[in-house]
Amino acid sequence: MSQADPQGRSWRGPALATGARAVGLAALLAVAVAFPVIFPNPVVTNYGVFTLIFVAVASAWNFFSGFSGYISLGNAVFFGSGAYALGIAARDWHVTGTGVFALLPLAAAVAALIAVPLGLIALRVRRHTFIVITIAFFFIFQLMAYNFSFTGGSTGVDAPFLPWQAQTYNNPFYYIALACAVGAIALSWLIRRSRFGLQLRAIRDDEDRARGLGVRAMRVKLSAFVLSAAVTGLVGAVWFFYLTQVQPPSGFDPLFDLSVVLMAFLGGLGTISGPVLGALIIEPGQLYLTTTFTNGYLSEILLGAVFLTVVLLVPRGIIPTGGEYLRRLTTRGRAAIPAAVPAVPQAADPAQVQEAQH
């Protein structure tokens, strides 16, 4: 625990900081819990469900890719596999009604099982090659979903019918998605605080040196990859049951991959609150745009344009700038505790690089 932040804790009134943070988090959680009560309109709770789903998957993406630096553009593989696993299990075992929810752990297990061989192959290579291999996996899975008979081909799989009132239909899903989101955030927090998280970040900074210092890189990377896949698969199953259907292009969606990465980048790669904030900004925005501009393409253009603008306005990347700003916001001016260690080399690094580039 204390290895992650040897400095910092002692000289910044830690009790006060932790107290204020706990109160703030409790208030946020209370707002999230009360949200469907305050806004019972199904249109609004629909936004809530999707946003929480993306909070969960962006956090899950981040505690592998953000911490380890292995940018995965193939997490839709696990999202879609979770969705299909739930759908196929419910269909073949004739599970109906709320009993389907009991199958959610199965979806997580299936996604984790799929992640083991994929991780063993992909994690042998680094940087661009890793990214491209995850994209290749993504396309393989989409094609398999189209071509196998048990996945229902291009018609996909339908979820069992839930005989619930339309007015309150979204609410149970909202709370399940909230539980997933809180779970994913808590998991990120635990990982970041642990020796395991420290090893992941050591791999991000310099994998060869980390190995030299005794980090079992493959084992650490694979564990994080599988854990991330399990959470993504679980959330994918919830998403599927909520939408009641999945087809190959919706379960294995390239835009899903991009959105998740974008959320983490927008908020701050490798931070805990970053992907959450990114999801809270991007997902409602995306939903709003797709419902407002019915042809859907304008929202695509706008999404791309917004992202380019952000990158241009913050040329050295949103991560340091946005991350510091975010930390200043959440800590109200006090130096953030987790930032104490990486802040020094990070601040020096871009300046050096910039000097070298000019």
């Binding site: 630096g69 940018i71 192959i121 042998r124 290579v125 680094r126 940087r127 661009h128 090659t129 990214i131 491209v132 291999i133 994209i135 290749a136 996996f137 396309f139 393989i140 094609l143 398999m144 189209y146 071509n147 991000r204 310099d206 994998e207 060869d208 040196r209 390239p254 991009l258 990465v261 974008l262 980048f265 790669l269 042809n295 393409y297 304008l298 695509e300 253009i301 999404l303 791309g304 344009a305 992202f307 380019l308 990158v311 241009l312 040329p315 050295r316 990347g317 991560i319 340091p320 990070q346 690094d349 871009p350 690089v353 910039q354 070298a356 580039q357």
Partner: protein, 292 residues
């Protein structure tokens, strides 16, 4: 059966030549700028739509139209590089450039949808539908012309890279950017022109793709995933590797296509994964750079 296999091999080589041209553009961009241009696929489709417009509106022949579309794509490439990619600096540059090119792809795709809709199109010309009978093989003229053009352009690119001063600057930048800057090479200029060239070849690739396949604004994803598989298999940054891998992969796909058309593309990726299990750097890849 043997006939079909021979025909598949011939087709694979001819189509592979065109893929090689697109892949060389992609691997060149990677080698010089150290970025993966995800937008390459949708740029090919943009090139196809440009050819389509020229042919449909002004009845300009597909090959003649390249005189317009290639420079146009070059300019688009240079503008994108200068406006969006050059400003990126620092530690997360690799991932940022990837996302920027993904964002560019989204914007281009959205604009194409906005203008042309989601309908499938195909480029048409007299030589697209007719074919020639050589040694018992039926070869559509478009494949022959396209292959010849692709070979000529790849040869021209090779000449540019290995026989000119500019090419020497490009290769120097590929090897060591800092050292290249120290000996007085204008890195920014090299990067912008290389990106422009890498994008310009998509105009030719797009015309060929559009003439031999039906396309819509969404077709770019399928293309870019194939191109990525090809350049990884060949070894990132290796031009010769991109050539070999293109022909190898497309031939393999067209052979599998004889028996199992719907699985052909899966075999494509499976081959990639298998090769990487044995050689993580691809056929002709350099050793991975230490640290990240």
């Amino acid at each position: 059966m043997a006939r079909e296999i021979y025909q598949a091999i011939v087709d694979g080589i001819l189509v592979g030549g065109v893929y090689a041209l697109m892949a060389v553009g992609l691997t060149l961009i990677f080698g010089v700028l150290d970025i993966i241009n995800i937008a390459q696929g949708v740029m090919v489709i943009l090139g196809a739509y440009l050819s389509y417009e020229l042919a449909a509106r002004w009845h300009i022949d597909l090959f003649v139209g390249l005189l317009v579309t290639v420079p146009a794509m070059f300019v688009i490439g240079v503008v994108i590089q200068v406006a969006f990619i050059r400003p990126l600096r620092g530690r997360e540059r690799t991932s940022m450039t990837l996302l920027v090119s993904f964002a560019v792809a989204l914007i281009i795709e959205g604009i194409l949808y906005q203008i042309f809709g989601a309908d499938d199109r195909q480029l048409s010309a007299s030589y697209v539908t007719s074919s020639v009978h050589v040694f018992g093989f039926y070869l559509p003229y478009i494949y022959l012309y396209g292959f010849a053009l692709a070979v000529a352009l790849v040869a021209a690119l090779y000449g540019l890279l290995y026989r000119t001063g500019f090419g020497r600057s490009v290769r120097a930048t590929m090897q060591d950017e800092t050292a290249a800057r120290l000996v007085g090479i204008n890195i920014n200029r090299v990067a912008a022109i290389t990106y422009g060239i890498g994008v310009a070849v998509t105009a030719v690739g797009g015309m060929m793709f559009g003439a031999t396949n039906s396309f819509n604004p969404n077709s770019g994803y399928d293309l870019i995933s194939r191109l990525l598989a090809i350049i990884i298999l060949g070894g990132l940054g290796s031009i010769g590797g991109a050539l070999v891998a293109s022909v190898f992969m497309i031939t393999l796909e067209s052979i599998v296509d004889i028996w199992q058309p719907q699985w052909a593309i899966v075999v494509f990726y499976a081959a990639l994964v298998l090769v990487l299990l044995i050689r993580p750097t691809g056929f002709f890849g350099r050793q991975p750079v230490r640290a990240q």
